[in-house]
Symmetry: C2
Subunit: 422 residues, 2 copies
Amino acid sequence: MSDRIRAHYLIETPYSLERAAEVMAGEQSCGTFTRLAGETDELREQHGARVEHIKPLESVEAPSLPTPAPPAGSGRPRYRRARVTLSWPLANLGPSLPTLVATVAGNLFELKEFSALKLLDLELPAPFAAAYPGPQFGIAGTRELTGIAERPLIGTIIKPSVGLSPSATAEVVRELVEGGIDFIKDDELQANGPHNPLKARVDAVMPVIREHAERTGRRVMYAFNITGDLDEMREHHDYVVAAGGSCVMAALNAVGLAGVTHLRRHCQVALHGHRAGWGMFSRSPHLGMSFVAYQKLWRLAGVDHIHVNGLRNKFSEEDASVIASARTCLTPMFAPPSPGCEVMPVFSSGQTADQAVDTYRALDSTDLIFCAGGGIMAHPDGIGAGVHSLRQAWEAAVAGIELDDYAREHRQLARALETFRR
Amino acid sequence: MSDRIRAHYLIETPYSLERAAEVMAGEQSCGTFTRLAGETDELREQHGARVEHIKPLESVEAPSLPTPAPPAGSGRPRYRRARVTLSWPLANLGPSLPTLVATVAGNLFELKEFSALKLLDLELPAPFAAAYPGPQFGIAGTRELTGIAERPLIGTIIKPSVGLSPSATAEVVRELVEGGIDFIKDDELQANGPHNPLKARVDAVMPVIREHAERTGRRVMYAFNITGDLDEMREHHDYVVAAGGSCVMAALNAVGLAGVTHLRRHCQVALHGHRAGWGMFSRSPHLGMSFVAYQKLWRLAGVDHIHVNGLRNKFSEEDASVIASARTCLTPMFAPPSPGCEVMPVFSSGQTADQAVDTYRALDSTDLIFCAGGGIMAHPDGIGAGVHSLRQAWEAAVAGIELDDYAREHRQLARALETFRR
């Protein structure tokens, strides 16, 4: 790969595609609205962003985002769509993630020449892999921390999301670990509120997990949500480590890239990335950022797990998009000898035993965390049965057996399907 | 103000407004898709988000964002719009900015019940003002640092944005300070790239600014763009301070909330907030966050200045929106005895002498930084004339004189209007 940064966009513009692409390139490198004395040809050649490729797509009658009309005289505008690739010399910014974001996803979203602009993908030169830590544990490390060699980690989210006391949380954890759960996470809303402070939660939860591990040898991973200010996150991380925990969680968009990178450099356990707020990037097809681009930033910053929704989720994301997101987490970001930075996708949101087989068929991998909240906790025969129903569903998936066939001999699965199938 | 957090939203939904608002409240507090054993009435009463107000607006035929159709049988759906106010007890999260973001701007954007969802405003209880530093210098402090008592600070952005060497940057700075500029900033693309490393830039630029200050008593503020990883930002901040600088700049969205808060707690000089990437929050009327809500987060985190575009800017933002943004920066966030956290709005993007009078008329304040890049650097008579043209334009504005009248006796202004009026 060259020492240039490449970014791929979907654009829509009432101007010519060539002109629009040049405006993007100028705005995000050495241009302004008028050519300046210092802007020599040599400087443009060395530091200007370059339009690498334009692939015209369809045109539409109306602008997808509110956009000032182009100057009169050009007739009623049509809005042309295209895929555009720009590139920048690494010398402009160096391998800096925050400056990368300001460069590839900065002012250009506001340009009036565009009635749609979405960042689709990023290709980063190897110096980024050298400058950033990337995932510390990733897929293999997470399996090692939990002792689960091949199957997906069956996980859950403490519910109700907020409102439980530390001791009530520990009671739920006790039922979960006894039920055979592999992974538990705090809700993204539950961090360090006065009704359930992080340290009190660690104090209540970790003895349950430690005692269970000593008794059974099973090391359940609990992702404590340490989202907060930076000193607070470091202190809470250390508290989790001292208590024998193996994972901390951060709400990525809320903490931000510099904070997560800093946390990662300090971190001794798995770093679970929650993407709360992701809808702001993703809900519009005409604005924002694809998950392919987004997750590369967080993988470099160093998360080990990242959320991807799940099939038939309670949100608006379609199944194909969920699977594409999970697959991109498993795809190397850099060619050897740089690390691939693969991370574990976390399936979550409205997940129950019912989605396991379809998830496996679509992804063709068990390198994932499969989280069900209500899908475990609301199982009619209790939490343990909820966990078993998911284990059974994944056994069926990997064995290539239809869920309904497997359910005939597996009561918890049968009851889950009865209850949760919609 | 009560100890509840309130957030105002614009929503659009094919469901009843009451049901939709309850889904938001449930998702962002103690709900999941099915009611759980632990979710007692008492827990819901104490920790559930509350729907405070629903103000129905118009309906539309088609969803504004792609949304799965509601279940069949309800006929062809109409999409109802409303303003909705939710509230949360502070006990759920405590005064934590990152957890606030995960709560008021988290998963809810993805909910399939909504074909539009935008955060319009936030009301935060006083404990947030106690927990966060807020602006260290703000308006009065920025005036003190620069010695400019009443008029706007006339500012510029180093252009070309990237590509100049440190010494070439210092040459531009020399012309600017001799021309009478008050404020200079790095471009958001120019942070610590190998072709112009931050320290080398400080070494080249600060002697020019110091020498000018010693000679004239005028303390020009240079906002060095220290955007980067956290340790790098702290080190660069210290370097700027040691060189006698009075301002550092960070690209807010790229660094993130925890990083900016941490930087502010360390910071000894004015903190200039650049909102590169803001278009992702703002371009869609149906998704994202208003600037009113957005800037409250960064004011609490502690920026002293924040960008608001400018009238007739090169971006897609309309003038009324620009003025509303600037006004909200000048509006106290908390009632006494908590601090108001007012910050200086930064007008920028395609600004020239031509916009001064209209800006003053619309805002009725001179508490702002008025930045022109090309509008100074591309003045036909040079940089000094560009600076003078802006000073003259603001003199006219404050004196209530029409620009064209004032231009008759002020040559630099006249030449600027000839050149830049579009």
